[in-house]
Symmetry: C2
Subunit: 134 residues, 2 copies
């Protein structure tokens, strides 16, 4: 099995600490949070702007990587689906994808609105939004 190493470039600082209490989607009551990047990545943040939305990629380090099917939203009354057809954190590569709104930027600390990631979740990447028309 071929593998590549992903580097943790920062961490989420959030009031969300209990996986069982975490909202499943950002629009279900996720709190504002800080993205705290390692100082070495400061140059890579140039051009990010408060008031804009970006995509945040995280590593869901508390996920199960051998799970291939799940009951959607953990509801056992719903038929199992393949994890690639769901947003389950449990999947072979537990990469979280979050659209976040940047509130403020202070050095290598970025304050964002409504992030459904647990405190200390590793950050992998930040990207511009996909263009709506592909």
């Amino acid at each position: 099995m071929t593998e590549y190493p992903v580097r943790v470039i920062g961490r989420v600082e959030s009031s969300l600490t209990d996986p069982a209490a975490a909202p499943r989607q950002a629009d279900e009551g996720a709190p504002d949070a800080w993205l705290v990047f390692d100082d070495r990545y400061a140059p890579a943040l140039q051009g990010l702007a408060p008031g804009t939305d970006v995509l945040l990629l995280t590593w869901l380090d508390r996920a199960e990587r051998d799970t291939l099917t799940v009951h959607p939203r953990g509801d056992a009354t719903r038929p199992r689906a393949g994890v690639f057809a769901t947003r389950s954190p449990d999947r072979p590569n537990p990469i979280g994808l979050h659209q976040v709104h940047i509130l403020t930027i202070a050095g290598t600390r970025v304050h964002v609105r409504h992030l459904e990631a647990l405190d200390a979740t590793p950050i992998l990447d930040v990207k511009p939004l996909l263009t709506p028309d592909r």
Copy 2:
């Protein structure tokens, strides 16, 4: 530096083989391509449907991981920006994010429209689209 191993769960089969000739965005002439998953991940594909769009995550294995700033779109007349504000493949974790339209599914082979990834690019994950309203 903390690292985690990502697993290659499949590969792109594409007529795109020359990085220099590859389109920078899917809407700039990218060809249709096949996503070929390892057989062991067949259960994880259940629920994917032809005629729908999904997000594809790839590992851009020919990217430079120590690049932190770039001239956008490789245009030296444009001022440098941090890679997190651009779609440059060169970035600390070269994870490609592509919205693709599923044409057909044959076992663990998924045919998709307009994919700007090179032949043999490793596949990491498939996810539903982000909901438009967050």
